[in-house]
Amino acid sequence: MKIKNIIITFVSAIALLLSTSAVSFAKVVGDKIVLGAAVSLTGKYSSNGVHTQNGYNMAVERINSMGGIKVGGKTYKFDIIYYDDESNPKRAAQLAERLISQDGVEFMLGPYSSGLTKAMAPVTEKYGVPMVEANGASRSLFTKGYKYLFAVLAPANLYLDVAIRTAVELNGGKGVKIAQAFEQDAFSQDVRLGILDAAKDTGSEIIIDDKLPKELNDMAATLVKVKQMKPDVLVVSGHTKGALTAIRQISEMKVDVPMLAMTHCDAAKLSKQHGKNSQYALCASQWHKTLTYKDKWFKDGMTYDADFTKMFGYAPPYQAAESSAALLVFKDAFERANSFDQKKVRDALAATDMQTFYGNIKFAPGGQNVSKPMVLFQVMCDSAGKCENKVVAPLKWASAELIHPIPKWSER
């Protein structure tokens, strides 16, 4: 009995020691501003989780090597504590709790995906920890009245809005017939709501409105309906699965539709996996390297693309670019707040109005970035079968002219 008591005392003493020593590992240590982040390094989001982490790391390295952050006349450097959230929302919420209450982190970066951001936001909100996130676009994140959540990306409902408006414009301002198929997850359903709004605005009609299951790998039924009803635009959003399945079955079933608009094309490596079959697909993107935004750290999109490729060995998808932008926003806010007080930093974040290589950033009261439009690129292939993504809308940044309508399969 005595031995047992001694062991219990000993163990609890150690536990107490550990818990207190962890707290000393706080927000600003020496000349370091410690940010916390839970990203998906394993599990189903692991590829995009890694893009997110690489984006963060690249920006940390760049900002630190270019003089760091100046607060109160002193120079600080960024440092990030990472945890792996295993692509699991419950784990993400636990890790947010852990980063804040055990590691003493006072500023956070976002995880990958709307679902995980949704799980973490209530925790950061509860502790009043400002979080700048770059990979959660779901509209519902910005309607809950969160005060400490800021997103550098355009909300999900704007993803394919441009496509519908472009189709209407090409139709001489008259409404078009839309067929749509969306996966049943928070993100895709938000994209759908955006289309509904755009359709109402432009007097367009939705003639097919299918929902796709999470395990989706067959959408032949939807495509048969498309063949029969002949819509002017086909819109598909179901992450990489949706994009890959759609192109495979559209090309195999020879479905002719004047305009095909999708999300997640570059994450799906569409032109690499499908080659010429993916030609003419329109894809929504948060960022493209040919956009002409500029900043002092990364210069512009082309330079960012080259530097990132040099550092990580692959071309940056937009998920990496927006993650790098999140760090630029934090740096800017710290310097304007000139303090590490969480409330002051939050207010500085809310007042952000800047241009980065990724786009203009200015937050609406809900926390979403409203000053950066989405761009649409079109997959274009040359006669040798080499495909490239070229920006076609909005016109301001277009590097190629939109090919519309898509040529029929029998004429290709």
Partner: protein, 297 residues
């Protein structure tokens, strides 16, 4: 609800053909499950994950410039040894225990496989392009991708070969004998341990074929295995063990059912409707069984 599928006769034909071609593929996976269930009394929850692993083998051949159709030869050979490996490591320890233990064990294998595949191959959705064209029927009103026709054809060939092998070969006879009565077979000199290992290997090889076909026709992803397990479980439940024509028929039936559910209820209920059907069939079977028991009383 949308009854468009019945308004245009061509769509009805399309849905039936799509369903049958798909169902033949399901039947192949289900046949493997029925085989090992009958012989070893094991319900393999990892069935779908073996399918996906087989798909990755074909995908990697495709990546290295080999036509993925060769995957239907290479994938089963590799998967056969994977199956034997799993048997030696795990299954032989649970084969004589009750069904619950084996379900838990294969459930564990399933999770392990998902995570390992995610770790090794990444979380991206991938596919292998066969470059097969398209067949147009009825004045191009019905469109069938040749990859689907190819996969149905290969499934049928493999199923027929397996039936002949089971009937004619020594191992096939030993497998059937063990399925009928393991103890008696053992007494009569059948090495049941070897039979079990071979059965599990053959099942994994069938999954390998199916996986290669799925990577050609659809897409694969480390976490996409479960719907295939459920479908094959359901087909076996309907057809019963050791009833090959039954498996083929209920496979095609399920394929057609899925297609029609897709048109009528909407794509979001496609897989949900399979679960619903499974519950209905289980309830119906129970109902039938209880009637029988009363009769026996």
């Amino acid at each position: 609800m949308d009854f468009m599928v019945f308004q245009y006769p061509m769509i009805t034909v399309q849905a039936c053909l799509d369903g049958i071609l798909l169902g033949v593929l399901f039947a192949l996976i289900a046949y493997g499950m029925a085989l090992q269930w009958g012989v070893m009394n094991i319900i393999n929850i990892a069935q779908g994950d073996l399918v996906i692993l087989g798909g990755y083998i074909a995908y990697f051949m495709y990546l290295y410039g080999i036509h993925p159709a060769w995957g239907v030869i290479v994938s089963p050979i590799i998967m056969y040894f994977v199956g034997i490996g799993i048997y030696k490591l795990v299954i032989n320890k649970v084969v004589d225990r009750d069904l619950f233990i084996s379900i838990l064990a294969t459930f564990g294998i399933s999770i392990l496989f998902m995570q390992l595949m995610n770790f090794a191959f990444g979380a991206d959705v991938v596919l292998a392009n066969s470059g097969y064209g398209t067949t147009f029927l009825f004045d191009s009103n019905v469109v069938l991708p040749n990859s689907k026709i190819f996969s149905a054809f290969v499934s049928i060939v493999f199923a027929i070969c397996l039936v002949i092998y089971m009937k004619k070969s020594k191992l096939g006879r030993a497998i059937r004998a063990t399925a009928q009565n393991a103890r008696a077979a053992k007494i009569l000199g059948v090495n049941t341990e070897k039979v079990y290992a071979a059965t599990f290997g053959i099942n994994a090889a069938l999954c390998g074929v199916a996986g290669a076909l799925i990577s050609i026709t659809f897409t694969i992803h480390p976490y996409m295995g479960l719907p295939y397990t459920i479908r094959s479980f359901m087909i076996v439940i309907v057809a019963g063990l050791g009833n090959l024509p039954g498996v083929a028929l209920s496979g095609m039936g399920l394929g057609v059912f899925e297609e029609f559910a897709d048109y009528i209820l909407g794509t979001e209920f496609r897989i949900g409707s399979v679960f619903l059907l499974l519950v209905l069939i289980l309830v119906y079977r129970r109902f039938k069984l209880s009637k029988k028991r009363e009769y026996l009383k």
